[in-house]
Symmetry: C4
Subunit: 229 residues, 4 copies
Amino acid sequence: MERLKTKVYEANMELPFRGLVTYTWGNVSGFDRESGYMVIKPSGVKYEDLDPENLVVMDLKGNVVEGRLKPSSDTATHLELYRAFPEIGGIVHTHSVWATSWAQACRELPLYGTTQADYFYESVGCTRQLTDEEIAGDYEKNTGLVIVETLLARKIPPLHNPAVLVAGHGPFVWGSNAEEAVHNAVVLEETAKMALLTEQLSQSAKPLKAAIRDRHFYRKHGTNAYYGQ
Amino acid sequence: MERLKTKVYEANMELPFRGLVTYTWGNVSGFDRESGYMVIKPSGVKYEDLDPENLVVMDLKGNVVEGRLKPSSDTATHLELYRAFPEIGGIVHTHSVWATSWAQACRELPLYGTTQADYFYESVGCTRQLTDEEIAGDYEKNTGLVIVETLLARKIPPLHNPAVLVAGHGPFVWGSNAEEAVHNAVVLEETAKMALLTEQLSQSAKPLKAAIRDRHFYRKHGTNAYYGQ
Amino acid sequence: MERLKTKVYEANMELPFRGLVTYTWGNVSGFDRESGYMVIKPSGVKYEDLDPENLVVMDLKGNVVEGRLKPSSDTATHLELYRAFPEIGGIVHTHSVWATSWAQACRELPLYGTTQADYFYESVGCTRQLTDEEIAGDYEKNTGLVIVETLLARKIPPLHNPAVLVAGHGPFVWGSNAEEAVHNAVVLEETAKMALLTEQLSQSAKPLKAAIRDRHFYRKHGTNAYYGQ
Amino acid sequence: MERLKTKVYEANMELPFRGLVTYTWGNVSGFDRESGYMVIKPSGVKYEDLDPENLVVMDLKGNVVEGRLKPSSDTATHLELYRAFPEIGGIVHTHSVWATSWAQACRELPLYGTTQADYFYESVGCTRQLTDEEIAGDYEKNTGLVIVETLLARKIPPLHNPAVLVAGHGPFVWGSNAEEAVHNAVVLEETAKMALLTEQLSQSAKPLKAAIRDRHFYRKHGTNAYYGQ
């Protein structure tokens, strides 16, 4: 558990370093499938005051196992994702400027280039709006459920398209662990910026052809990957 | 008074740190309701030369109580706001790029997402243009009056929508103290940027639904708030 | 002369510090009306290698008075401005991104807000294109002449509108000395960015009313100025 | 070879310093015509872990001559360029935001200003899309071939127009050595940004006149160059 706390701490600190968060507008969690415990940022704590020791350890039912602080207000969203998809080992939520702008426009992020295809096999989906009942009820849990709903509709493994934009809100991003989740959040922000610029340069911009999308995605993923050492 | 001077000094220094001001284009004041005194940045002093000791202490009639330097040229605007709204304890004025662009476009800032709803209950209003008489007369005081006019027309508590854009000029932002005012100015700048990008991504972008706006605003404000520790 | 060299050196170093130049794409000169000498950056020297001692001292006829290096390739442009306008004491040329984009669009920069009116009394003019003969001839001198032509057509004192955009090229900015010229170049870049954003937010954006323009300009300039200490 | 390794190492490190790469999304190679060897970045190695000693030395047939790591996954693209154009001594590939957005829009980059003309004699071409066969086959080699095809169609010396945008992917840039290639990649990114902004400011923006384009290009290139010392 100490090791996971250190990892999740480092992943959280990467958010301000990469320019993805202002003030406390973001959180990272990591999940240890063996113990069944999740480690998550405490709510509203400034990054400069964060410490592995003030992270909160919880089980997937939402019970606090360790820690004196309240967990992130988005905790219920994280829990839904870990419950639904066993392959997810880390989750990050931010209000990063470019990805959030797509979410506010209620648009999915088209896959316009190889930069995105190196990490995302498809466009990044955008959820439907929550109903007033879902908002008035268990809002954060329902946010998680609508992310799961968006992902399942795409019939794609979650790690092959590791993000969803929540309409009017912002991105949730994940990976096989917390570090990879943050890495994917950085990729999402860069590609969200490039996609907007691409549309400004061409009103008839088209998604990347399937052949080159496959080539790039599988150059980095799966058994035939040949990128890296 | 020394404590307020230190707080107002720190809040002023946060402006260049957060990238909200170029040169001396901004000022922060703080108000101590008990003594009835306001502390404000001196006019035209570079941030690197600022010091708690060269801040100016004034009463609400505009008399200098302490300090050898001339107060900010926008002093009369600050005074009108403190006079009109007892709940305001800190005010900041900047020419930050994105918020100022909305002011120059003479447009109110729509509430497109939860990032804004966490701090602002509505769109951020934009004042009418001052008349030639108001400009030729006590210009800075009249700027304060038109901000008050814009706020009152909205029938909303000032701390529930802590900013107004002055048409053709730039933002004035406030809070329950100087630190919170600067915090809100940072939020305004981020959301001003995201709102412009949102409109570029969708010509039919719509303001956030009331239900989710309420949820986010009251998650952080009021007696039922549950964000933070 | 040593004092002017130090001042011009510091003004040159401010360009990379303020993000106005990439590599060696900019130069600052200063003019000492008493001695009749101009000090200017040497051509193609990296800012990190710049030193007050490798600046070039010249008279207004273009003779090198002191210095072992070749002066900036834009020297002849600077000289024309000093010759035409005795009140100019410092000149800066950059390819700063936002101002240069207006120059490439062959558009004058509208005066949309008080940020600009604090320094510029009018829109910033854009030159006509040089003719092929002017380009093939003494190109840099002719660039200076077309800047002078653009300014004279406006019938405004050069220090009341201290910049011109050269069509297809970039901004030339000046002031009563080198430091002020760089200050104005920073203002121009900020306002060039805000003006583009303003137009994106409103297709019917209008220049600032004359009354408020006057108020802001004369708040900082002339005998009735009341900004600063 | 040690000297080339140091040079290529330094050129690689310049990429994150200049903000052209996120994570490992870029690579620089240098070619030594005398020995016939190319030095290139290893695949997927973080810039903070890079070292002259872990660069890979290869011949133009693609044999590894020295080095324990796998070379960049884009190696075959680099090799095609060195084979086709003897004057190229350094190549850089990045996913820099603005240039990549033009590539994703499948548009060539127009030559709108002197900033670009100082380095590029023409618009920067964009390749056709690769066919599915070319993608399924030796993809990286075919990427090199389509760059060569794009360049040859322009009938211009490669060092007079040292970049091509690969459609849907990003820029490849070169120079007479690795350092110059990175320098040109920085220029390309700045001019890609300014060109987009220029089009936003004027729907009728026109490329620079030939006369001034020639003047600027030859001010810095060829036997009559007079820029610099």
